[in-house]
């Protein structure tokens, strides 16, 4: 219980005033998006500023959104692609990170230097040759094109390796004494131990690939394969600036899953997405 002086109360109020203004600006698009999705076209296009919908048009807007474009398909694609990427990454990154951290083998240092080098290279740089490779393999415009290039993630390997360095060697020695082979050590012992780090890197991976626009834009042409960002743009292009109600309804649907996940697990989310922001 702190005693507040006059100066204390003035400061308290000023802090909230400033932060609240900032929060309003940050949240404005979300709120406006939601409100617009409830409004009829007359209110959207009127010259007067209407905050709240006077006429409730939500059902029509959302129905239109779902019927004009396969919104649910986009979401499902997002989930499928991100889940596939994550599972692939666990299968490939985890053993490699463990090996680099805990095992001695020739080429280990070189491999780790390769990982570090990869961290320096942003993903857009290698886009063109990757595109050519996929084209030659006939994999363009397929789920494979969305998933395979991300099967190995240098950031994931780096993160997991840093984590494995903190795992005591004795744990592994005990496992070997108990008769575990290397594969068993990785999947039976290291995987459960690594769950906190996996969660953070999983959220990072999921959010990053969910929000990725650049790569699907390059490799996907069919709307059925679109991930949420690409689907949103398809929708926007179809609407051609007329049916804002349904368009906003569509963006609400697209944005909702990540928002819900964020609000449900703020701390974990911030941890994971900060990593993605750091990665760039």
């Amino acid at each position: 219980m702190t005693k507040r002086t006059h100066a204390g109360w003035a400061w308290f109020a000023a802090r909230h005033a400033v932060l609240m203004m900032g929060a309003v600006m940050m949240l404005a698009p979300f709120v406006w998006m939601l409100l617009t999705s409830f409004k009829p076209p007359t209110e959207i296009f009127s010259r007067e500023l209407h905050w709240l919908p006077q006429e409730w048009h939500a059902w029509e807007n959302y129905r239109d959104a779902f019927t004009k474009v396969p919104l649910l398909r986009y979401l499902a694609n997002g989930i499928a692609v991100c889940a596939a990427i994550f599972l692939l990454q666990v299968a490939i990154n985890l053993p490699a990170a463990y090996a680099i951290a805990k095992l001695r083998f020739p080429g280990r240092e070189g491999l780790f230097r390769l990982v570090l080098l990869g961290l320096l290279i942003p993903h857009q740089v290698i886009a063109i040759p990757l595109y050519i490779m996929l084209h030659k393999a006939g994999l363009l415009d397929s789920y494979a094109a969305l998933v395979v290039p991300f099967a190995v993630s240098v950031f994931g390997i780096f993160l997991m390796r840093q984590f494995f360095l903190t795992v005591p060697d004795d744990l592994i020695h005990a496992a070997r004494l108990d008769g575990c082979g290397e594969f068993e050590i990785v999947w039976r012992i290291m995987l459960p131990t690594a769950i906190p780090a996996l969660t953070a890197s999983g959220i990072f991976s999921f959010v990053w690939h969910w929000n990725d626009y650049f790569w699907p834009l390059l490799v996907i042409a069919s709307p059925e394969l679109a991930t949420p960002p690409l689907g949103t743009v398809f929708f926007r292009n179809e609407e051609a600036g007329i049916h804002y109600g349904p368009l906003m309804a569509g963006t609400v649907v697209i944005t909702a899953p990540l928002l819900a996940a964020f609000l449900a697990a703020q701390n974990r989310f911030i941890e994971g997405v900060t990593l993605s922001g750091v990665k760039g």
Partner: protein, 308 residues
């Protein structure tokens, strides 16, 4: 003598076998990752370098080696320079904007326990959301007649503008969007940095006589945030340099290349005009700048080691 040698030789064999099996395990565990790294990272990276030295076009049957020809063309390309300078302007506005905004927000949030979670969530929401979807919303909000921004702008006495189509405002509008999206990230990184400042330092400063908000910031907070600030600056700079989504979705580089940025130019050249070789040359420039930023940060961070 042979008596003494034998036991050692016998001891060596199991050790060698262990080393061999460990190596084998290492290769098999790391093998897939290593192979994929070569295939999906190294090979394409080499490919970019090689392609930048050719004039290959997508779908062409053959190509010529032009050596540094692409780079010379780049040097003379007005669009490239406009794009590069636009990107620099973008960085020059978004980085200070989001770093200062993030720092101020983090300091304000930390200064009092009330409503912290709410503010942190509110400011971080733009970072966590799907940027494309929000960009579409912003496009609607920036609509010249029915957009919220103009309606509020007019309420305060301004004249309605087509923010994204007016060459004088388009880039700055995108910058505003960039700041909107990145402030939360800077804030979260600064919050982590602030938490890592030991409480006892503030106590010691209070006993030493530095107990006003200004002195506390100057003598303790700001110096201790040094590494974090450097980190945030570089991260926001790199991320700003990679700006693409908002440009492609909202302006396509227009009006009249007013919002053309480097990444968008690479995209247009490579996948619009199909000039893969040329696009790769621009990519090399792009990579060079990012490498420079990253290496600068690493160098600066190392020279400022001052932790006990």
């Amino acid at each position: 003598m042979s008596q003494a040698v034998l036991p050692i030789a016998q001891a060596a064999a199991p050790r060698e076998r262990r080393a061999w099996s460990e190596a084998a395990a290492g290769w098999s565990l790391a093998g897939p990752a290593a192979a994929l790294l070569f295939l999906l990272l190294l090979a394409p990276a080499a490919g970019v370098v090689i392609l930048s030295l050719t004039d290959w076009q997508f779908g062409a049957a053959d190509f010529n080696w032009v050596g540094t020809g692409n780079f010379q063309d780049l040097w003379r390309d007005a669009v490239f320079w406009k794009s590069f300078s636009n990107t620099l302007v973008y960085i020059g506005i978004v980085v200070p904007g989001s770093v200062l905004g993030g720092l101020a927000t983090a300091l304000l949030i930390e200064s009092d326990p009330s409503l912290r979670r709410f503010y942190r969530a509110a400011f971080f929401l733009p970072v966590a959301s799907t940027l494309i979807a929000l960009a579409v919303v912003w496009q609607f909000m920036l609509h010249p007649t029915v957009g919220l921004v103009n309606q509020v702008w007019e309420f305060f006495g301004g004249t309605a503008t087509d923010w994204l189509k007016n060459p004088r405002t388009a880039l700055f509008t995108l910058c505003a969007l960039g700041i909107w999206q990145m402030t939360g990230l800077a804030m979260v990184l600064f919050l982590a940095g602030l938490k890592s400042v030991p409480r006892e330092l503030y106590d010691a400063a209070a006993v030493d006589g530095a107990d006003s908000a200004f002195e506390r910031f100057r003598r303790v907070t700001w110096p201790m945030l040094g590494p974090t600030t450097l980190f945030v600056l570089v991260i926001t700079a790199i991320r700003s340099f990679q700006v693409f989504d908002t440009v492609h979705v909202l302006t396509k580089g227009g009006p009249n290349k007013a919002t053309e940025v480097l990444m968008h130019t690479i995209y247009s050249e490579g996948f619009g005009f199909l000039r893969a070789g040329y696009a790769c040359a621009i990519t090399i420039v792009f990579l060079a700048v990012i490498l420079a930023l990253t290496l600068a940060q690493m160098r600066l961070a190392r020279s400022r080691v001052h932790y006990a």
